[in-house]
Amino acid sequence: MKVLGIETSCDETAAAVVADGTKILSSVVSSQIEVHRPYGGVVPELASRKHLEAIVPVVDEAISRSGVALKQIDAIAVTRGPGLIGALLIGFSFAKAYAFALDLPLTGVNHLAGHIHSVFLEPDPPPFPFVALLASGGHTNVYHVISHTELELMGQTRDDAAGEAFDKVAKMLGLGYPGGGVIDRLSKEGDPDKIIFPRAYLDKSGFDFSFSGLKTSVNRYIQTHEDEYQNQIPDIVAGFREAVVDVLSYKIINAAIKKGCRHIAIVGGVAANKRLREKVRQDAEEKKIKVHIPCFHLCGDNAAMIAAAGYHYLTNGGVSDMNTDVYSRVL
């Protein structure tokens, strides 16, 4: 079954064609293509109107790169939520019209379930049940993944998301946006044990996160070391990164142990963080747990993951009708 996936929940306009929920035939993300070239690459501005401008070229590009004729597409999967209502509506309304015109089944996909499905686009995906850490700019969630369509939320951030902490710390230090890549790069030159920032484990047996206090303590460090911090940036970011990674790794491994799972998936933009990938793999190996992390281009928002999740929704009877609407939040 060939599914056209469409994603417009936040900054990216994306479309993809995926066969049987596993094989990517094409995957197009607007920030990576021509649309932004006149402005010199990725434009970190938001893009509700950009979604409207980009949706048709991005879908056309995905169809044409897939090598599949439009009439060979079997179904359409589109992000229904959570996200910004105005942004979601553009993708969702477009998908409804497309499905209606081509007389194809349509399914609305939860963006977060989509991220988890990015590991099914890689060889050797985890068997059910497994636990998943979804860490991005907007979310830091731990799930017990029971099947393609059943997710149990075990924990989430109470304040800032992990990816947001990276970006805000980078901003405080004048390192630019986004922060994950530059912090990774600078951390290599720094000593993570030189400046120790607090780890917020909260209740150690629980799976909630808090990164706001860490952000504030980096800010306090900068304020109280005004004269010298400029020369300590590699040590500051290495210490900060280690504090984030320690907590993420600790919680996801404990979640696997609690649920008796031998497999962990790490997904979302923060899954691209090199130290996180390394640390979770090290810690998991000691416990004989296998870690699944998608390749870099499937960590950020994309539509292939939406098509993959949509395939499983559809094969489980999850067809959306024309009265289905978007939602801004899950709870």
Partner: protein, 174 residues
Amino acid sequence: MIKKQLQITTLSLEETQLLGQKTGELINGGTVIALTGDLGSGKTSFIQGLAKGLGVPNEYYVTSPSYTLINEYPGRCPLFHADLYRLEHVEDIEEIGLYEILDSEEGVVAIEWADKFREILPDHIAIHLEIADDESRKISISADSPENITLTERISDIYNQQIEKISRSKGVQK
């Protein structure tokens, strides 16, 4: 223009949240709260208290909307929590749907990094947070309109009464 500004120093994160909570208890749908202050100064913490005061159920975690841009919570009236941190152009305000929310006057609208686009703000209560030390924050509350001035005075009075009550009960314990 009349303008009133009140200063409060909170000594802990809990006190900052308490000030938010008292604010939430006193305001109603249509009130706009504009928050300003550095990264880590406690804007989101204040709004966590505000949500509590508005009766947002505990199972809803009030998280930073920096990425999600606008978060909505059910309460005595809806709470819209917006963040202009990532916005670069004033047109973005329209694109994220903030004008619709402000115009409907249905809920309380709390806006972080409000100083980025001051010109778009309707009549509001302004909350500015400054880091005094690790946990202590200097908070100024100001308003222009008679209704909002009355509100800010009541918020400050009730908060101070509450703090006094807490310190008295701690004194009794000793």
